[in-house]
């Protein structure tokens, strides 16, 4: 297990994949927070000001986490946040499915023609949660800005 967590290539692939995924996911939401709020509102979990607060901050969390993972800084915080968010998203989708809600996911695009939430989305998200946990507990810092900065500061000493 320790060997897997220390694998540089695996860590780089996981970080890059998650980073890109969340950057792409955040763009539509940042561009149109109201459409994103409508998508979240369809889940019937929150409403009003709380909903708009969530729709305002969440896309930026996704964007920052994605950028941090790609750059290789604040990797623990980014992985922790993304894993936690994915758990919350998955629970929301399961809850919507159990309540028989006929809604689009609102995950990557706010296009109403996008696919509806389904159990496949739960499976996809579960895979992403494992990927997030892997990057959280990964001990590899190779190819990261964090290790580059650390090397530079050691050189200065």
């Amino acid at each position: 297990m320790k060997q897997i967590l220390a694998n540089d290539s695996l860590a780089l692939v996981a970080r890059t994949f998650l980073g890109f995924l969340f950057i792409v996911a955040s763009i539509d939401k940042i561009a149109d927070p109201v459409a994103f709020a409508n998508s979240i509102g369809n889940y019937k979990i929150m409403s009003g000001t709380l909903l708009m607060l969530f729709a305002t901050v969440l896309p930026w969390v996704e964007l920052l986490c994605g950028l941090c993972l790609l750059a290789g800084i604040l990797m623990r915080g980014s992985s922790f946040l993304l894993s936690s968010l994915l758990v919350v998203f998955t629970l929301a989708i399961i809850s919507a499915l159990l309540r028989g809600l006929d809604i689009t996911c609102g995950c990557f695009t706010q296009d109403p023609d996008a696919g509806k939430v389904g159990w496949m989305k739960v499976v996809e998200n579960t895979g992403l949660i494992f990927l997030g946990l892997f990057t959280l507990f990964s001990t590899s810092v190779k190819f990261s800005l964090q290790s580059y900065l650390a090397r530079q500061s050691v050189k200065r000493l």
Partner: protein, 161 residues
């Protein structure tokens, strides 16, 4: 344990930064929180044309009983088969582009009323907009949809298996 604690600490920093960026961005761009309460996504209708109007259950029932309306179900085929408004036809929004030939079977002399599950879906609005753009005049949206129709015990039917 140290990993989680570090994750939490960095996570709080990221959330605070994201919050700041989110507020500044929406304030400068006058979007989201700073653009009024959430509203239905606007329908893209050519300028100068009257967009499809929403009707309530009373009007939907009255048009149903008059026989001058055709209900168009925008839900998935499976949902349609399980039950739909009596006499309605199924045109799932996701299949709209691949089923353009279906439009030729729709009557031009009747009011087309789109519906989906109810308040939890928007596909009836989007389908109405597309039908309107395709040249159908007098398209209506029954936003209460299937849920409201069945809650009023109005006529339904299902496709025999």
């Amino acid at each position: 344990m140290i990993t989680i604690r570090q994750g939490l600490r960095e996570g709080v920093f990221i959330v605070l930064t994201a919050g700041l960026l989110g507020f500044v961005f929406t304030m400068v761009m006058e979007r989201g929180l700073f653009a009024g309460p959430p509203k239905q996504p606007p329908m893209s209708v050519a300028s100068g044309e009257v967009p499809p109007a929403m009707i309530d259950i009373a009007e939907a029932q009255s048009l149903f009983e008059s026989g001058n309306a055709l209900f168009v179900d925008s839900r998935h085929e499976f949902d349609f088969k399980m039950g739909h408004i009596k006499g309605s036809v199924n045109l799932p929004l996701k299949d709209y582009d691949t089923r353009r030939d279906f439009l030729t079977t729709l009557p031009k002399d009747k009011v087309l009323i789109t519906y989906c599950d109810g308040a939890e879906c928007n596909s009836s609005i989007d389908l109405a907009s597309k039908l309107h753009q395709a040249g159908f005049s007098g398209v209506r949206i029954f936003f209460g949809g299937w849920s409201e129709w069945t809650s009023h015990n109005l006529p339904t039917e299902r496709v025999a298996q």
